[in-house]
Amino acid sequence: MTTLTRSAAPVVVKPGATKRSRRPRRRRSVVLMIMMIVFTVYSVFPLLWLIINATKSQASLFSSFGLWFGDGFDLFSNIAQTFSYDNGIFLHWFGNTLLYVVFGAGGATLLATVAGYGLAKYRFPGRRAVFAVVLGAVAIPGTALAVPTFLMFSSIGLTNTPWAVILPSLISPFGLYLIWVFATDAVPSELLEAARMDGASEFRTFFTISLRLLGPGIVTVLLLTIVATWNNYFLPLIMLSDPTWYPLTVGLGQWSAQASGVGAQPIFNLVITGSLMTIVPIVIAFLFLQRYWQSGLAAGSVKQ
């Protein structure tokens, strides 16, 4: 256990730097390759379906085979329609989602980082209780807390405002845990002692020294919270009644639901194209930051 934890810190900073080069080259395994191809096909297949069907018009969706292209190639007209439908409400939803991500995920990461660091580097009364309470609360189904939260928010006039979505997403217990574990090793206590000797204040030390060392951990938490807020569906669904505040997920749900009943207007093609466009930005974010979050995850998973 101790060996593992000690090695965690350096590896975290330079992921897998020396490991591979030292290993002798081996012959490639066909079995492994086939197996991984199967996994990949399984993972990518539904996305492929999404891309193929995003090229079809509403009419062609109803009449063509699901796994191949339809008569025409309507991807661009679908995208244009998605952006223009109902006075461009989709762009509005996109902006809202960004707003919730910036403040929700950003705030959650900030709070988790500062608190996780405090837990890792200070012995203060009530420290253990903090952690027990935070993790115990994770077990309570969020769906069922929706009503009490709604009633509370409503009594202080927060429902149907962006705050109703942002405030609850400021809490990321897993983020707190990850930073805590990460900070324990990534920020050497000796370094902090040295800074204190020099007369730096605690917060100054945190911002000038510790924050930089926590980099990969912060990026990981940031990505996890971005995914969480980007995918947030239930809470905004309950809290918001005005579509002008909807995030993409709730908006797509509404588009999908308008296919039913009196005056039904099915727009399955826009639901599909909109889904595709909801996924693209977050996939890009993942690709760009993958170096960081993968090493950040490592720390969180080794320590138990």
Partner: protein, 453 residues
């Protein structure tokens, strides 16, 4: 533009003022408890007119596609009134939000779209304004009797009808012709057609049915059943009454024999099935043509409309779907909200916008009887004058049917109970009995006095 609308406005205002006088007197006689709104202590229609003149801002929740054009026309007519239009979701989603806002005590709109089946629920919870306080009971003559009955619950008037859904049988003529099926006039013929069709083509079904509370209750209604009788908080539930049994006796063979397509309504599979001939008939509300025309384009020219089949040759009908708009009690400007509502669902201008936008089948007698409406012969339906069939059907709607004051809950557990019969392709009566049992239990838990028969 402005010049041309002015006289119309003036005429309308005079007409409204006249109506208001009548309304005011009516209120004076009947309830006496007219809401005094604003500083000028007018009551009834006069208060409404004053509020419209004074102006203000109200919020309107709806999911009807016609709303945007309607609100624009209204604001043009009453420039001092601003209507904040919000699509808070389609049916259940909206009701959930509405209930939440009502429970929370704030955040509800001034006017909201509420389907007929849910009116009793909101009315009983005292969440809606009784429009009799504004003298709106004088508008009765403007509406078909069916939808008017739907908004009148327990002696109160809880909304104004927007559209209505007298049932009809929509059938795919191309499919019928291909398999030599004649248009069924009775349910016996309908069941026979179902068998013939499915035998001729195992991929074709007479209709689809995976169990839908609205559909089932409408079918029971059409069979003469009155499973729910509600007097205030005293409720009797009998989902085994003669009408219900008449329906299940007829429908069971279709479910048990797997003669109805197991395709859930409104799914993309369902739309496909309507377009490619898999589903040969639809037993549904008169609002269906708009949906078919806009969303099942593949089948243009194939569909026709016929009256609902009957049990014994006497034409009888029921309703399926349809919405009203209601003024929510939480509204801070009820008179203005009522004014908007009156224009929205009682003015010729608004109703024609609604019909043109494909919002549904109107409920005002004026719209229903206009020659323009009756003589419309859409190409989609092969030039058939479908509205004549539909309007005729509206005349045969059986009176006296009602739903529960906790219909939203009832709908939510329909799949748990009757759905089990559907899932097992077995006797619907078993499912209906278990539905009844849970409804009785729930009602009693909630403080109603519910008897199950």
């Amino acid at each position: 533009m402005k010049r041309s609308t002015r006289p119309a406005v003036r005429r309308l205002v005079t007409a409204l003022a006249a109506g208001a006088m009548i309304g005011a007197t009516l209120v004076g006689c009947s309830s006496g408890g007219g809401t005094t709104s604003g500083s000028d202590a007018k009551t009834g229609m006069a208060a409404v007119d004053a509020a419209l003149k004074k102006g203000g801002t109200i919020t309107y929740w709806t999911w009807t596609p016609a709303a945007k054009a309607q609100v624009a026309a209204f604001e043009k007519k009453y420039p001092k009134v601003h209507v904040k239009l919000v699509n808070a979701g389609t049916n259940t989603t909206e009701y959930t939000k509405l209930q939440n806002a009502i429970k929370a005590g704030s955040g509800a709109p001034d006017v909201a779209q509420i389907e007929y089946g849910v009116i009793p629920q909101f009315a009983l919870a005292k969440s809606l304004v009784d429009l009799k306080t504004f003298g709106f009971d004088s508008l009765k003559k403007d509406y078909a009797s069916g939808p008017w009955g739907d908004v009148t619950v327990d002696g109160g008037l809880w909304g104004l009808p927007q559209d209505s859904g007298p049932m009809a049988m929509f059938y795919n003529k191309t499919v019928f012709d291909t398999y030599g099926i004649t248009v069924p006039k009775t349910w016996d013929e309908y069941v026979a057609a179902a068998k013939k069709l499915h035998a001729a083509n195992p991929n074709a079904y007479i209709t689809s049915d995976t169990g839908d509370p609205g559909q089932t209750t409408s079918m029971i209604w059409q069979a003469g059943g009155t499973p729910f009788s509600v007097k205030g908080t005293d409720i009797t539930i009998n989902l085994q009454d003669s009408g219900t049994k008449k329906y299940t006796e007829m429908w069971n063979p279709l479910v048990e024999g797997k003669l109805v397509a197991p395709i859930p309504g409104w799914s993309d599979d369902w739309y496909k099935a309507l377009g490619n001939g898999t589903i040969a008939t639809l037993l549904t509300g008169a609002w269906m043509p708009g949906v078919l025309e806009s969303s099942v384009k593949d089948a243009s020219g194939d569909w026709r409309v016929a009256p609902m089949p009957t049990y014994d040759g006497t034409p009888v009908n029921a309703e399926n779907g349809g919405s009203s708009e209601a003024v929510i009690k939480q509204s801070k400007n009820q008179a203005l909200a009522a004014g908007f509502l009156r224009w929205l669902n009682d003015s010729k201008q608004s109703v024609s916008i609604f019909v043109e936008a494909g919002g549904g089948f109107p409920s005002t007698t004026e719209a229903l009887n206009s020659s323009e409406f009756l003589d419309a012969a859409p190409e989609y339906f092969g030039g058939q004058k479908i509205n004549q069939v539909l309007v005729e059907g509206a005349k045969n709607v059986l009176p006296g049917f009602s739903l529960l004051p906790y219909q939203l809950y009832a709908n939510s557990i329909f799949g748990d109970t009757v759905g089990k019969s559907y899932a097992a392709n077995s006797d619907l009566n078993a499912g209906l009995k278990s539905w009844q049992k849970q409804l009785v239990d729930y009602g009693n838990q909630q403080g109603f006095t519910v008897t199950g028969k």
